[in-house]
Amino acid sequence: MERIDAAAHTRGESQYLDDMPLPGEMLYASVFSSPVMHGKILSLHTEDAYSLQGVVAVLTSKDIPGENQVGPIIHDEELLASSEVCYVGQPVAIVVGTSPEIAMKGVKRIVMNVTELPAVTDPKEAFLQGKIIGAPRTFTLGDVDTVWQNCDFIVEGACDIGGQEHVYLETQRARAIPLEGKSLRIHSSTQSPNAVQRYAAKILGIPASSIEVDVKRLGGAFGGKEDQATPWACMAALAAWYTRKPVELVLRRADDIRMTGKRHPYKSDFKIGVTKEGKILAYEVKHYQNSGATADLSTAVLERTLFHSTNSYFIPNVRIFGVCCQTNLLSNTAFRGFGAPQGMFVMESAITKVSEKLGIPREEIQEKNLLKENDLFPYGQRARYCHIGDTWNKAAERYDLPKIRQDIEDYNQTHFETKKGFALMPVCFGISFTTTYMNQASALVHVYTDGSVSVSTGGVEMGQGLTTNLVIAAARAFGIEGHRIKIETTNTTRIANMSPSAASSTTVLNGNAMLRAILQILDRLKSLIIKELRVPDKDKITVVNEKVFYDGLETGWGWEQLVQTAYLNRIDLSAHGFFASPEIYFDKTKEKGHPFVYHVVGTAIIEVTLDCLRGTYDMSSVKIVHDPGRPLNEHVCRGQIEGGLAQGLGWMTMEDLRFNEKGQLLSGNLATYKVPDVYFMPDDIKIEFLENGKILGPYGSKAVGEPPLMYGIGVFFALRYAMLAFKPHKEFTFASPLTPERILLQLYSEYLNK
């Protein structure tokens, strides 16, 4: 089946936030932000902005009627800085004008006097200065300290991992509309309508019930709108509250990149001990996360780094340390993978260094240490239905790994200035919000008398295919055709207290909640029909293809007749469903528990060709075996895998965030921050599915959003393979992204300054 929204997308008829018809009297907001990394605000001069024709309001922290606070986990983030600024791009004031251009012009007229304070950008330096957020965390398994002496080899190393800008094609935006009395409706491009509702209410000092948040669809999000859509929506709300007019705030691309958080850069140190056969006995890692200026979701991101620090491997003795380091950079935030990619990158680096030191092929060490059923993760959960080995074996077999290896070796023997490289990348990713209470969802389902169905859930459509999946699941559950199902906007008046659409869990949680609502309605309908048909057993009633069957036999009743009869018999045709993931818990005092409902696994083989003269490279192929459970929709599932892969490849190669010494982002637009394009992505992408039985999603589907991103990590090691083929005796760093610059400077270090 095709995606439910595909045709409208291709016609340009899908409405994004600012495509909605404009209300009369609309005003537009623009944001003034800090030009310095760290400083005390001495004075803020807004008069010149005010005097500009068309400027309606200039709002600062003083104009906030409620609490000036938007920090989601730790309350350390002001909506508008009041006395101190902590990074370049931190919002300080809002200008509201009759056009976006006027508002932007007003922003340019604001003058802020600041006394600059010392700033720090390096996470390890921040750590040494005691600038940390939350408490450091340590996961342990076995006893690393005593096991080092049993290891034949011990290898140590360090990683320097770059961040990543989301580049959702639709930038951050919100439209706030004053309603009667002290209430507002906010249209927000957010993954978290509940957060927008909660914080807008807090900012304005009114009850959450006075704020309605409505979300139709997002033009991409990737985590960047999980928490960081909230401030912009709150600013639009504040401006609408103050002016009593509709206010729209749309960030232009350059402002979006300059002012919003990114994937966290990490500095990590590892120590790994192995037997001479390559069996890993002990692994110790210290992660210094560059959290940026405020907590945002950093502590949760760090937690997932710890959860995934051993990736797909069983290591009997492990100590994983992690700490959130506060720096004077943009406040980093959720991004597809949510800390897991950094943890896995370090693990893969450690294995690679072992392989290079011992002269054992990387993939042999990887394979030897893959998780097996019932193996223990460092966080106390056992691997169940976690078929990482099966995906590895299937990939090796289906894609003929020995031949890939041989061909590459042959090529490298016969070529001088170009070299090929390959790497395998197994991925094992836990599904659930690691904050247990967030694993809940609700849904509201109405059946109308003409047989059409309205479904509201707390899930947000951001391209991940939620609406398609929900339509398929709802149609299957009711036994009716998909065209009868309408997925409504995500709205806080219909669904309360929703969790963000994140953690790859949106379909699982909201789909199950929806199915529970549907089952209630079906149950009522079945009770009615056994009365009407005078048959005894409710459980023998089924609805298939819009027809009602009893015990497999047609009853002559159709869907519409059933619904109408129910209505006339005063049967409730609406239901609310609720779902909470079973059996998960995590005890943070012991750092042990069962945080994940299941794991998604897969293995990728990545091949590259490196131009050793120029330092540039081509992705030759990516071949994947992925475990999707039973996907509700194959287009959606494959699309998520391919798109995640592209982001992972970009993160490891060209996506290069560069700041100058003043903390200003140099790669602050799409001319300087490059993401994969049609030529970068290989033509040869193959994806095979691992057929797998036991699954917990609706109709056996598994989560898919985040895990495929981590296949992209393999490209780093494939490039490194090619670099070593060119310069076999050199030591290379584990610094990402591996740009052509990093490659060339390492290949030719002896030619520098000559």
Partner: protein
């Protein structure tokens, strides 16, 4: 009041009086509320705002995809502007259907622009539908969701549905684009020709293709006195005269690269183009604009420098010719008065045996600004270098012609040693600074590498990359 702009927008005839520098994107989304056109970056990098611009060419209208975020409305006079709304029919077009069938859309924000570009591809006449063709038309589009595999796959659907036929006539006849396209040539002809208005005698800004000036002066332009240069046919096109190829300063990158006279001189020009810019930008960016913009890293400038081109300036009736090699005086400082307009670029018709190579290294291989770029022109007689032009970008405040290095090569036999000896001279001539495109030491290293690349590509039988790594 601004002069009226009379043009066709989808199936409607439009007359507006906007400031000519207003962006087509802002006009479409703001005034017309044609919101299928999306704003993704406002700098020509993402392609979400792509529209087709149709121009009469003989009896036909030729359509080109361009990014509406870098095009002034002043240029729309007499043209046909097509947005996604203007391509919609009650049923899905082959492009739309292919994307639906492949599931090649996720969040959907980039999709309308992509549909517009691919439709532009199918409207192109007389060419087979190929995978490379589809990629070329996707090149200026960023999609952050799909990873492009499914989009590339659309080629199979086109081949099937269209039976490898392309062109507007075929598409209209088969209801693959709306029927109104049939009438467009006649309707465009009915728009009265105007002699290009002398809008401003002393404008603040001249706008050529606009692909760079809109990045630099975005907010300033709609409030300034501007002169939209495009529409002056005398400044477009390529012809041969008196031993020179004359190139109108407003010739776009794409027109330049597709011209047979140019291909004869620079046989691989179309391959270089893939690295230089996306199709939408190549359809807008002009050679003159690239030269006057004076970016030290302009790709076409570097190429024209190596070819030792001449620049022709006009100031009213007065005309002056300046060698490009002496045109750049310092960072963005030009040998040009404020009233002079670059009208022509002259490339000396090469004597036979001249070989040309262009090299570019950037973070992303295609459609990115270079860390360092370089072009070399060389002619050997009996193995002796008799003529050489070597230019390099990103290594100095100006696009650099490596005079001393060229001098070193002249009159000598190509050998590994000769090239090794050139490295210190190159390093002396260049003075790169570290920036977002790369550190100074990286650029210095690239200068060496690209010099090797030129010679090993042009003289593969004489020098090999391996020769430069004796100590390997």
């Amino acid at each position: 009041m601004y002069p009226e702009i009379h043009f066709l927008l989808n199936d409607r005839e439009i007359r507006i009086s906007e400031h000519p520098a207003v962006l087509v994107l802002d006009y479409l989304r703001g005034s017309e509320r044609l919101v299928g056109v999306k704003e993704g970056c406002r700098e020509g990098d993402c392609g979400a705002c792509t529209v087709l611009v149709g121009e009469l060419s003989g009896e036909q209208v030729v359509y080109k995809p361009v990014t509406s975020c870098l095009m002034p409305v002043g240029e729309l006079y007499g043209k046909h502007l097509v947005t996604i709304e203007g391509l919609n029919m009650p049923h899905l077009s082959p492009v739309q259907q292919a994307i639906v069938d492949e599931g090649a859309t996720q969040c959907g924000f980039c999709t309308p622009g992509i549909v517009v570009s691919l439709t532009g591809y199918l409207m192109e006449d007389h060419q087979e539908i190929t995978k490379e063709g589809v990629k070329k038309y996707l090149s200026g589009h960023l999609c952050r969701c799909t990873g492009y595999r499914s989009l590339k796959q659309s080629v199979d659907h086109f081949k099937k549905t269209l039976d490898n036929n392309k062109g507007i006539g075929f598409l209209v006849a088969n209801k693959m684009i709306p029927a109104y396209f049939r009438e467009i040539p006649a309707r465009l002809r009915r728009i009265p020709e105007i002699s290009m208005r002398k809008e401003e005698n002393t404008p603040d800004f001249f706008i050529a293709g606009g692909t760079d000036i809109y990045l630099q002066k975005n907010e300033l332009l709609p409030e300034s006195r501007i002169c939209v240069l495009n529409g002056q046919p005398e400044m477009k096109g390529v012809f041969k005269k008196n031993g020179y190829l004359h190139i109108g300063a407003l010739t776009t990158f794409e027109e330049f690269a597709q011209h047979t006279g140019i291909i004869r001189i620079i046989p691989y020009i179309r391959e270089y183009m893939f690295q230089i810019a996306s199709l939408q930008i190549r359809n807008r960016a002009t050679l003159g604009g690239n030269i006057i913009n004076a970016s030290p890293i302009g790709d076409m400038t570097i190429l024209l420098l190596a070819l030792e081109s001449l620049l022709v300036f006009k100031d009213g009736e007065r005309s002056r010719t300046v060698p490009i090699t002496s045109f750049y005086k310092g960072y963005k400082q030009l040998d040009k008065t404020s009233t002079e307009i670059l009208t022509e670029i002259l490339i000396p018709e090469p004597v036979s045996g001249v070989l040309i190579n262009f090299e570019k290294v950037s973070k992303r291989k295609c459609l990115d600004v270079a860390s360092v770029n370089s072009a070399m022109k060389v002619r050997c007689e009996d193995g002796i270098i008799r003529d050489i032009g070597l230019a390099m970008g990103g290594v100095a405040p100006v696009p650099l012609f490596l005079k001393a290095t060229c001098q070193h090569f002249l009159g000598k036999q190509v050998s590994g040693e000769l090239i090794e000896d050139a490295f210190p001279i190159i390093q002396k001539e260049i003075s790169p600074i570290g920036d977002v495109r790369g550190s100074a030491c990286y650029k210095r290293l690239l200068a060496r590498q690209l010099c090797i690349a030129h010679f090993t590509k042009i003289f593969p039988e004489k020098v090999k990359v391996r020769d430069f790594y004796g100590t390997h």
